[in-house]
């Protein structure tokens, strides 16, 4: 993705496929978490998950622009978005473990998510933003509301992060 960066140095802006982007430290997600925690307290995790879903829209749009794919997405497009595209933005590595388009059941594994890198150790899963982003990606592809839950997290000492996405309750 860095090869696609076009810099407008006169105006201090950079673009990928016509969409303005910026470079931001991976601490962005933990910084948001701290900001939210001071305002909403324990609801920060859920708020951050919803933030992830919101920003997932524009990240997915960037993927569409780069790949030039159609509105009707295939399983292959989804796999490319998750496994090939997200790592290029510096979001860590992701692997699609299970995918059932009919039922909307998805299992994703991830390594080096920004929240793991910036938060370090935690007793609870920490990747709320990435959970939101990947859930929104899945919703956009499957065209239905879904819920993402992180069941394993590297910050807790697990070998990888694991996110289950389905139509169940949060």
């Amino acid at each position: 993705m860095t090869r696609l960066l076009k810099v407008d140095s006169k105006n201090g802006q950079m673009f990928i496929e016509g969409r303005r982007v910026m470079i931001i430290p991976v601490e962005f997600s933990s910084a948001l978490n701290k900001g939210l925690a001071k305002v909403v307290g324990k609801g920060a995790a859920s708020a951050l998950y919803n933030q992830g879903k919101e920003i997932g829209n524009s990240i997915f749009d960037l993927f569409i622009r780069i790949k030039g794919i159609e509105v009707k997405y295939s399983e292959d497009d989804y796999k490319r978005a998750i496994e090939d595209f997200l790592p290029l933005g510096g979001f860590g590595r992701m692997e699609l473990t299970e995918l059932d388009f009919k039922s909307g059941e998805v299992v994703l594994r991830g390594w080096n998510f920004p929240e793991v890198i910036s938060i370090g150790h935690s007793e609870e899963p920490v990747c709320h933003l990435m959970r939101g982003i990947s859930t929104r990606f899945t919703e956009l592809v499957l065209q239905r509301p879904l819920v993402g839950k992180e069941v394993k997290c590297q910050a807790k000492g697990d070998e990888y992060c694991e996110i289950l996405i389905n139509s169940g309750d949060e």
Partner: protein, 177 residues
Amino acid sequence: MGIIKLLKLGRQLRVKPENGQIFLNDTEVMILPTEITEELFISLNRVVGAGGASSSLYIAGKELSEPFFDILKKMYGADILNSEKKIKMALEYFVPFIGFGRVEIIEVDLKKAHIIFKGQDFPEVGITRSTDTQACHIVRGIFTGFMEILTKTPCTGEETKCQAKGDEYCEFVINPS
């Protein structure tokens, strides 16, 4: 498009595709669409109101000042801390370099922990530029955090003008709390 700046950026960005990681001068970074800042404010506003949203993002910006400052130190050396002239030069180059828009430092006085700067096209100004209030909470937080790091003094940042509400440029004043 700025070819020279693109080359400089390309040299300093290191990509590890196998791990999904990008580094700018050894600090791990992400590339994000700027409109997420607008989306963050809109969705936070729904949950905690405009006041809660702006203070959440301001605090987040202050938290981000530390990793950003690490990149600055690696680019310009630790002695950036000692000179107002260097700080001015570094910030005016660095902010556009990472795609945050343009910055002009109007006044900086490290002894008084005081800075006034103006800017254009900050990410939070957004596409619509149609708010009634100031919008650049993350940027305000980042610069306030910078001043706190530089002066070791708790500071408060205020955005006195904002392009999002129709001003010609954004302007910020940072002083000791």
